[in-house]
Symmetry: C2
Subunit: 413 residues, 2 copies
């Protein structure tokens, strides 16, 4: 069945908000075997919304719209739905009670405006929202399904995953599709392709895509077939090939992240890690602790942004700072060893560099980063030359440091 | 002039990558006075790309496509352009030299595949790429302009800002448009609307939108008029009104961020800050240091994730941990005072809470966060009840803590 995804809001059309919603929806529905045929965006205008909804209902079986369900003036989606489907708005007491309880729980009184959110088009079913006050709305009519979800990404995701996906799974029987993403790091897209391409043979219905990001390159294999087993077989053939030619760069699959992979390795080995961060200012700690249960292996760390903190808290000698500088191999080693000793962790990891845009010199241009690691046996550091963008440099440094822990644990050179 | 933005790549259509590019492009071009009429996405298929390009060139004056310019097999944009415009690919030595130099600078040899990136459609002009190897391509023909940019966001942004925007500014004369975004924090969208709506009168051609995010709610005012002065006047009328009714929640405008605003305040006052983070694991440090030049006022901090670190490094007594617990007002105060004293900063800020999904109790459910601040005069902490999502809780805690610093500096209650 064909799907159209519509994102609603001036903020999307004018670009003041990045639309992360349509990507999430597309991904989830693709994995249900549905085909995303159209994506469109429309601003906060009832007339344009009506037109957009009508066109979508003509050319797609399933239409999913996000945005414009909030309590304020510019949230017009419900009014457009009512016009397109020629229905009245009906008040739902149980929805209002739920919204009131949500505010009460946070010690707040519900603003009167939120009452609007208890109004639904006649005959619509609603999908509860566990994270906010705007419920999802679903109208099925003449073989078409129209679903409206709130635009706040966390709320949309929760409703889509918990409510909409099971609902749609019941509706359709499609071609079997199997998607696997192999996640690599530490190698460029083009170098990866040079390893992969020479021996690659793809069966019909199988596609391989390279998806680069700052933490690495994902290899996505999509196979379609008449049944599940055949689709799975086709994907597995490619996976085996890829593992053979570039296995050491593959750290995980699908929803694995580098930080969750490293976390699993540390937990299995009952090892711990502490970090000493300069130019990343806490990003490595933040990324490591984005994993649920990371307190099992992450003890903490020191953000040593000012040089006096590197000396006072991590024992980087003033001599090192004066001769080699804060951004140097010896400084990175001293920071890694310092944090390991001070926090009593298995591994100490350090990041010190010039994130930019200022602070670069001829010998150490912007993008120069040293990453150090101290283990029970040794301490060493490596120099990296990233680019000129501050945020990208920090992100690259963070993920490179996490990858360094993975390689240290697994003994990969 | 009407614009169509096309994002290219299976990863966009299937949702494996979030399309941040079209939002950025839309924003930049809207501020040039251009009108974004269509946004579309197309997968990695030459035929579908050709169709999409042809339709776009019929209905829009300016077509901007992103993605599919990389060196690997699945990057087909250039091949589709060549077909649509019926041109040959021409080799550009100067582009190849530049790509080679880029790899050399990082101590790497250029993979042979990257040679493809020196091929351009005949008659196209190219926009240099300072951050990567894929240049932007521009073809002007029969009153239409077609521009193809790489899909890597940082590269696309650099080329768009430095090259494409000036190029397009020369091309068109449009209606005057003025956009101002007032950034608020510390108040819900609905409560904000209740302050604003009663007295709000909008002139024709003026629109006000509420744009909520986890760091606050932005108020965007867009005014169109026949000339610049009139558009500016219309916007300023609304700005003055909003400042009168909800000024204390407004921390900045347009590209101001909460962290850059607080940074400016600290720098002006020659004050410094240090942080003690538990559940946020370094996020506050990371956000504060995302601002260029933040070393002027950010000294560093301690990620005290494990309780023994709170005791050993921040002086949170074992008695406090045993009686009140690590997530408590007294613990937050001790952490803030501890980091201030240890690092010698003007302000010490602490965050300790239960980010979830585990670790909640009846008395302290998931989302309970204490944020503390120590100043030369006093130390105090406040309790917050956020929601159930780990990442959102951490982000809310981070920005609430930064807002607390702003309020402390400015003496806002």
């Amino acid at each position: 069945m064909d799907v159209e995804i519509i994102t609603i809001g001036d903020e999307v059309v004018t670009g003041h908000t990045v639309d992360t919603n349509s990507a999430f929806i597309a991904r989830e529905l693709t994995e249900l075997g549905l085909t995303i045929k159209y994506k469109s965006s429309v601003g906060d205008s009832i007339e344009l919304m009506e037109d957009t909804f009508r066109i979508a209902l003509k050319r797609a079986h399933i239409v999913i719209a996000t945005g414009g369900l909030g309590p304020t003036d510019d949230d017009l989606t419900k009014r457009a739905i009512v016009k397109v489907f020629r229905r009245n708005l009906i008040f739902h007491e149980e929805i209002l009670d739920d919204i009131k309880a949500r505010f009460r729980k946070r010690g707040l009184e519900m603003p009167a405006l939120n009452q609007n959110q208890a109004l639904l088009p006649q005959g619509a079913i609603f999908f509860p929202n566990k994270l906010g006050s705007a419920v999802g709305i679903c109208i099925a009519e003449e073989g078409r399904v129209f679903i409206a979800l709130p635009g706040v990404p966390s709320e949309m995701k929760q409703i889509l995953t918990d409510e909409v996906a099971p609902y749609l799974r019941n509706l359709h029987i499609g071609q079997a599709i199997k998607v696997i993403k192999l996640r690599t790091t530490g190698i460029f897209e083009s170098a990866l392709a040079e390893l992969i391409m020479p021996g690659l043979r793809l069966e019909s219905g199988v596609r391989l895509a390279y998806l680069p990001s700052y933490s690495g390159v994902d290899l996505r294999i999509i196979a379609t077939a008449s049944d599940d087993a055949e689709a799975r077989g086709k994907v597995n053939t490619v996976v085996k090939y890829l593992e053979a030619v570039c296995g050491k760069y593959i750290f995980g699959r699908d929803n694995d992240t580098l930080e969750s992979t490293v976390g699993k390795l540390l937990r299995e080995r009952k090892q711990t890690v502490a970090v000493a961060e300069s130019c990343t200012g806490g990003q490595m700690g933040m990324v490591l602790t984005s994993v649920e249960g990371s307190s099992d292996y992450f003890l903490g760390g020191i953000m040593a942004y000012a040089n006096q903190i590197k000396t006072a808290q991590l024992g980087v000698s003033e001599k090192i700072l004066a001769t080699d500088g804060a951004v140097s191999e010896v400084s990175a080693i001293a920071m890694a060893a310092g944090i390991r000793e001070k926090f009593g962790s298995t591994f100490g990891v350090s990041i010190t560099g010039i994130a930019g845009p200022d602070g670069g010199t001829e010998a150490k241009p912007v993008g120069t980063v040293f990453i150090g690691i101290a283990t029970p046996e040794r301490a060493h550091a490596k120099k990296y030359q990233f680019g000129i963008d501050r945020e990208i440099n920090r992100t690259r440094a963070t993920f490179t440091a996490i990858e360094l822990v993975r390689r240290e644990i697994l003994g990969i050179g």
